[in-house]
Symmetry: C2
Subunit: 510 residues, 2 copies
Amino acid sequence: MNGAESVLRTLAASGVDVCFANPGTSEMHLVAAMDRVPEVRGVLTLFEGVASAAADGYARMAGKPAATLLHLGPGFGNAFANVHNAYKGRTPMVNLVGDHAILHRPLGAPLTSDVEAIAGPASHWLRSARDAREAATLAAEAVAAARRGGVATLVLPADAGWDESLGAAEPARQAPAPQVPDEAVETVANALRSGKAAILLGGVTTGTRGLTAAARIAAGTGAAVFHDTFTPRLARGGARPRARLLPYLTELAVDALKEFEQLIVVGTRPPVGFFAYPGKPSLLWSPETNVTVLATPEEDALGALEAVADLVGGEPAPVEPLPRPELPTGGALDLDTLTAAVAAFLPDDAVVVDEAVTASALFQDRTAAAGEHDYLFLTGGAIGWGLPAATGAAIGAPGRPVWNLEADGSAMYTIQALWTQAREELDVTTIIVANRSYAILEFEFSRVGAEGDGTAARALMDIGRPELDFAALARAQGVPGRRVDDVPGLIDALQEAVGEPGPHLIEALV
Amino acid sequence: MNGAESVLRTLAASGVDVCFANPGTSEMHLVAAMDRVPEVRGVLTLFEGVASAAADGYARMAGKPAATLLHLGPGFGNAFANVHNAYKGRTPMVNLVGDHAILHRPLGAPLTSDVEAIAGPASHWLRSARDAREAATLAAEAVAAARRGGVATLVLPADAGWDESLGAAEPARQAPAPQVPDEAVETVANALRSGKAAILLGGVTTGTRGLTAAARIAAGTGAAVFHDTFTPRLARGGARPRARLLPYLTELAVDALKEFEQLIVVGTRPPVGFFAYPGKPSLLWSPETNVTVLATPEEDALGALEAVADLVGGEPAPVEPLPRPELPTGGALDLDTLTAAVAAFLPDDAVVVDEAVTASALFQDRTAAAGEHDYLFLTGGAIGWGLPAATGAAIGAPGRPVWNLEADGSAMYTIQALWTQAREELDVTTIIVANRSYAILEFEFSRVGAEGDGTAARALMDIGRPELDFAALARAQGVPGRRVDDVPGLIDALQEAVGEPGPHLIEALV
């Protein structure tokens, strides 16, 4: 058994059974081994940035890592932005990066580069195999590292793939997340009792289990419950316990938090602005607010939250589902009617992948009134994540409809993801909010106090000239695409998407 | 004047007048400054990997650097593969990478990452501005570093853009390339006289000046003249002096060089295989061949080559133009008829951007018989370069037709480049060689000795299911696109592309 096969067999033995691949010559033995290890399903993507976001979306839904297969330093570079998103969200992910054979590396061949340097800033765990004999052991360690919540990157020189191995490795022991000490739990319980308090949930705590614990604490103490602006996966809709979204805008976030004497942070970091702005604060809490971190993202945040709930929790009142937005029946297609129609149509048990950027706040608000669903956010802020993340989420949550709310500018970063959706016949409905501009930039342009309003600057934010035809971009890749510019057309397209299996794209001109 | 404006004014004063931009919030002051510094032309791209390849293509033709404007670490990540190509080709390039404001950096905001770590492996010069007062000086140094032949990356924290600066900086003094010592020139002259010799040209030596000097040496000594498999820009066609392409395949390259007792390397590195293969050599010259490096890429290779020619050169015979391939008049469309038709139609003074991968060798062979043109190669081996490099080349060589010979798999990496071609009304003809597979991988699959021939492995090399419609992908972005599947259709499409201004895409089903 060569090193490549030993790595794939180790992945399979460790429970990794999907590999999003964009291989090259240095990965040929891994590709060949796919035939001998059918337990690992290879999913081809047309760009490495699709592979990495797909692995992110997959793992958020499957609750376990997928592998990616990438081609040397430039391949990791192409994947980088979406590996970064996974890194910030601590999504489990195993990157297999092929590299030149060991003796070929120092020769300066065209594709030679420092893979470890590129991968370092977006990897919680990073190793490079020295030979075929240790490749499987390192693969097992990579999976264990990823399962602890993070990005594991294993660089595999070509000869570590083609040389003889020692066979597959046993799954590596996975250390449990460190427990939060009892004293920290006591401290937080006392803080909750001592004054007006807010809890900020993030990371693994925004699922049903964390929200339920937070609701018990709220019932017992009157604390307000927020969740991170960009949390990996939020359980919401129907009668699920609710948390308030911490607003994206610095001013609004500061305003939302300023009334609280205590801010308890769980499974995430104390909140900071997405960007800095001249004369505006970077820290989102008031100087008068006492901030206590109950559990870092590395610690057992769910256990700590439940321990606090056991000390101070009460019995929450049943949650009343919010009334679904009414389906608009006519009128112009704009952000208001678009978001209302999407919220009205969103199927129960859907997975929502949100990269709508300027339209996100309204989508988030409206879909809160839909049935139960999971909502995936852009954890690392690097756009070009939505289409491929939806692709991976559909593979990670088979049988569940995936709805991708997508800005036109962001969609163009990784438009190739649609092809994989068609190839794998995935149930993804992509809704392109086509405003023909980097609207977020036009907005931010004024907020940063930038001066100048002439044609040169505006031209760098206008993507409407020439007009992009997203419906045609979809059809050219095998995905049924429709462009709609009025409410009846939108409703018809949504009905079609819900009624037919497989991927659909709706370009909504707003 | 704020830091952003001081940087742009410095670029303009240093002769950098094009900026390929994909900006975000942290670059808003640079965007705003575009209005006040009209000397710098902003060219919007829809993905950072388009911006970096466009800057590469631009500089190869304009002979001076363009700037890119990138958005933090993930933006550099997206740009990385094509910055890598420029790095390996030593193309002059100035990357401006926006980052968080200095005080915002340590707070762990979503888009925070180690920009310097990511940029390092693909930058010959790398600095990060500490404040607005030094930003302009660093920008001037970046341009000087790039002009020496390489990638200069300047990280600009947002507050270095919005704070008050000291004004624009003077152009920095550009150190000339180190001269090759006379003794080295003598040594090479003696080597050329001492036995059967070959000269390998690369880097800056494959323009008319270098080829002319090499032809004089060949006339005086009988030496054979080769050029690198992937050289940045080769002057060829018509009655220009010729050099032989060193073949891509290890076996063929070894075969081509084995007869020589002396190998003189100029402006490049001693030749090595693109990849390593089990049981095949990595070094392409014979153990019996004596290798002498006349000039490294960092040294004055052209001056050294001419000095050698002055010592040993003769008077080369006039070069007879090769007979143009005959235009096929019918028959099936295949690689043979496609490459013949392209060579027959290629306009004089064209710029050819070659990312045809498996079809490259035949295109290279056939177009050698066309009129005078420049031929740009994939210097770093990272695919996804062709479409955006052609975009930049058209801006760097106004008035010259650009022909992009492009593989279908590679085209999908940066298909967004077509939109910028339409927006800027560039005279680029893209010819997609649509074989519906990663044909190079199917070929390499067997060469690396990989076993396994089942569906799983093949599926990771087949991009024909579903079928991609490149003509439609072009039209959806504003570029006239045609699909052709026979010779008359191809000829008609080529005539249309030659006859009409602006971009065209021809999808050739072979």
